[in-house]
Symmetry: D2
Subunit: 326 residues, 4 copies
């Protein structure tokens, strides 16, 4: 007798679920090919949709008391046991976006057993990427940022750190850590809002991260790029930046046969496995990204702190649901 197992049941009212930040129809070519981050049908403007973002399909944002989830039977991930899930609820909130996004960055950079990884940025995505890299078996995870509080947070769960404001290139600091000026895999968790390195760390320099990652990534290595690059940036530093055109040392990457993977994380490709890793206690993501659960009324304060570079991931909890559990 062959049993169908426990994944059979569909979503029912009352289930406890995770909602991926990307909205996907489950029927178009891209969804069928697991590229739910660029679903072809839920956004008339372009492939890919999300809750509450400009240019992402006009879906009302998730930062509210209730949210309408289209194609819910496809999009939602059900937690198998409600009581068990409540014990890990702070971690499980990270399945909507931050953990899969960091994990996708690591996976697309080729992180696996024994990798030496450099993660650019110790904001929530960078910290999640660092934690995911550990889960993937990386030997050494090095996180770079210029905010001391964030670097301390990275060190709190076993990462090495690089302070990018200390030197014009980061190769020396990496050399001091692993005995060679290069890494196997690099992940850009910063994107176009980067500042320069060394004495330029006060200035916007949108191509800094990509260019420095090519410098320190070994030949035949790969770069994961979950950090956001936009098609237009009205406040860009020059005419090129305003249309999303950056000055990139592509010749350097080419000489090293680098592979670059860009774009938003297709959450559904990873969230079930990551849920299992959380439920069985293999990753403490809430601790790694330093989750702080706040009320909806407190959201403006959360945004202010985040903009100041707080080493925290704020989780909005309109109904006190998460806070009650903790």
């Amino acid at each position: 007798m062959i049993e169908a197992g426990r994944d059979v049941e569909f979503i029912k009212v009352g289930d406890l679920v995770s909602v991926p930040f990307n909205i996907a129809c489950g029927r178009c070519r891209n969804c069928k090919e697991r590229a739910t981050g660029v679903c072809l049908s839920v956004n008339p403007a372009r492939p890919g949709a999300a809750y509450g973002y400009v240019d992402m399909g006009g879906w009302v944002g998730g930062q509210a008391e209730y949210v309408m989830v289209p194609y819910a039977d496809f999009n939602l991930l059900k937690f198998p046991d409600k009581a068990q899930a409540m014990e890990k609820i702070r971690d499980l909130t990270c399945l909507s976006d931050i953990l899969p996004t960091g994990y996708h960055g690591a996976v697309s950079a080729g992180v696996g057993t024994g990798s030496i990884v450099y993660v650019a940025g110790a904001g929530p995505v960078g910290l999640a990427c660092a934690a995911a890299s550990h889960l993937l078996g990386a030997a050494c995870v090095i996180v770079g940022d210029l905010i001391p509080e964030r670097l301390a947070q990275a060190r709190s769960f076993g990462c090495e750190t690089v302070d990018v404001s200390k030197s014009a290139t980061i190769a020396e600091q990496i050399d001091a850590i692993v005995g060679a000026p290069e890494v196997d895999c690099a992940v850009d968790c910063v994107g176009f809002e980067a500042r320069g390195h060394g004495k330029d760390a006060v200035k916007e320099a949108p191509a800094t991260v990509l260019n420095s990652l090519m410098e320190i990534t070994r030949a035949a290595g790969a770069l994961g790029i979950p950090g956001l690059y936009v098609t237009g940036d009205p406040g860009g530093i020059d005419d090129n930046a305003k249309v999303g055109r950056l000055s990139i040392r592509i010749g350097l990457g080419w000489a090293k046969s680098h592979v670059f993977t860009t774009g938003q994380c297709p959450v559904m490709k990873y969230n079930r496995q990551l849920m299992q890793a959380i439920l069985f206690g293999k990753i403490n993501i809430a601790k790694a990204v330093n989750v702080e659960v706040i009320t909806l009324d407190d959201a403006p304060r959360g945004y202010r702190d985040f903009d100041k570079g707080a080493a925290k991931k704020f989780v909005l909890d309109p109904h006190g649901f998460v806070r009650k559990a903790a």
Copy 2:
């Protein structure tokens, strides 16, 4: 400036190295395609060679004071720093065979982030496979055997266990652990020397493991089969077994779209990454397989204990090199 990195240097006299158990030429089609376990040129009888085994090329065994390593520049893995390596030397001895073999079983069964894994057998290969599964991010690793000491060893590093002598099928015990009678991935670390399950646990039953793994592996799951199956077994239980023909429930595996990966581990595909994982402290393989380092003179005692089912991996140390380090 592009640096070539630290992997450039070739092997020199005095280097501390790991010798893979498979011998490979590095020049034939299979070696070039990373299938060093079935090198086409080092064994006139058939693809694949090893030190000191019947039918594996006639190379004198590695269980000696010295060993001649053909194509040493290709086969040897150099430890980057001798002093650092000596601190982990008990773990690093496992890179020759037992860790890559267990890891290969896990990888070919599809073990990754969040997997629920069943490992058949808690001998050294099974224990290494279980430790490798944890390294690969498995959510839950369940190990089955019938020797209590070995099961206790598996539990010592975070595995769940199944006593196959307790019931005719193992699905119930798995259900009791994970809440469903099936696993995502299964690894056969036993091979043709299997005994039956339940009350048949006293009898040889060479197809038992394969058949029971098909029962408990989910549809769309995969089976890694590092456990040895032979082309001929003079002491086989019947005429079929004598020529390596076993009675396999292939219809069951087919109905579940199972994928089966057989054969000896191509050590070089994995040993560099696993070395890094050891050197950076991500896996304590010597503890997991319970390494006991013994002299060459003590080898017969080691074999006797192993045959009795000791939960130990014996490492021969002819020159006292490893024992001095510990």
Copy 3:
């Protein structure tokens, strides 16, 4: 400006579509992971469903004037242009089952550029697999069967052939064709209804194909197994065969590090690409499998001819739709 492209629209009444033979919900874990051949929800008995088969979910068969397609928005493949599709309609009928099934066998055997492939069986699945192997860039496709008419059909589109009734092993015939007694990839398009080879070709011998494929497949090669193996066969040749247990030379496959991929083809993983290959004239599948379009009334005759070993693929055309187009 980013255009969403042409794949956006959903299914509408009046569309011309292909219906995969497997029924899938699009919402369960397996469907999300593209394993639609073992969908977890459409069959209460076990994973996987199909139209009109015993034990496959109780869905009324497709060999009728009309068929109810559950989850049609997920399951159906729309042809982009109706008029263009009508010109290739005989080929496009093969997208429901036979072409993807043969293609899946080839892909899972590792067929690609320059492969030397052996396809066991020149029935419709075998012929489709041979045609798919050519499409995948195989250097040489060898098809084995014992019916002369089917072998002639295989030769008609550039395959080499082996008559399995001519010799006890097929290695010599392969040697005569490619100058070596082995192939890179082998596909079992026969399954448990196999007969023996050589003088045993008159007798049922359900493990013949698998065992002979291990003999002729190179070390490090792979076997695709789309041919059906069942969990129970009331008319089986012995007690083992009756419960789907076959006597398999697993030791031989293990010695060669073979990988075995079993199970029904997940049609949706391949049908869009294969549709494009048909529409752009890259494969003439109707000619390769020798499609004969018949009325529903003529179906009994079609089944009789098929049972006799006709080198034909019968397509039922209840409304004369296909015949009008040709």
Copy 4:
């Protein structure tokens, strides 16, 4: 009995072989991982070496009567049968560089069964990439260039063409061919020496190809980039170009989740399979790239014609070996 097959023998004096353009040691980490294009040991300046190029290890060039091949037992590909090889010798000369390079571009762009592909550039690499795309099963291969003779050459073996001098963007021309303004896969076979499109086709515009490929490649598609980008170009159009920094619309690629694979082709990853495809008549690469075999003395003329945009691949034949065969 398991036969080792025909690939066993090592290279002997008198063998007819193909020499990959990249020089590789076969012992370093990258060679073992099949990244022979960035071998770590044969070039003191940086990873990767080749015959007769500046900055590629100082190995004397292959455009001579004789060449010294280091690590010949690893680097050389032996043709199995000398007489058979002589019949296809014009095609087999393309295995050293042009065919694997074009094939690598196609493979890394994700070209496979049913793909719609755009190949930028109809020089020898572009034409080889187009031929390789057909071999890989692409449904439709569109080649863009601005030299009419080269476009005619592309059409001669079943490609569609786009004249990039005719319009500022190429999306309209693609739309006219396939009914949508986008392709599944795109390959940059031009590199930094690109000119602009439309009326800018007379000017150097080194980022033109990359930027236009992002425009026309579908969301979730990939770009293969075998076309050369350099770390420094003394004659570059501006200060950025002089150090290999180009103005790239990375935001556009990111929005579409593009994957970019750069670098020189690791020839040994592909040349055996491509040799088989040639020997069995699956690809006529000499015809596709329009091979003209010339003497060493005639080389300067060949270079002049190539610089003028001749739709030809010149093969130097110092000893008249190839010309005698034809």
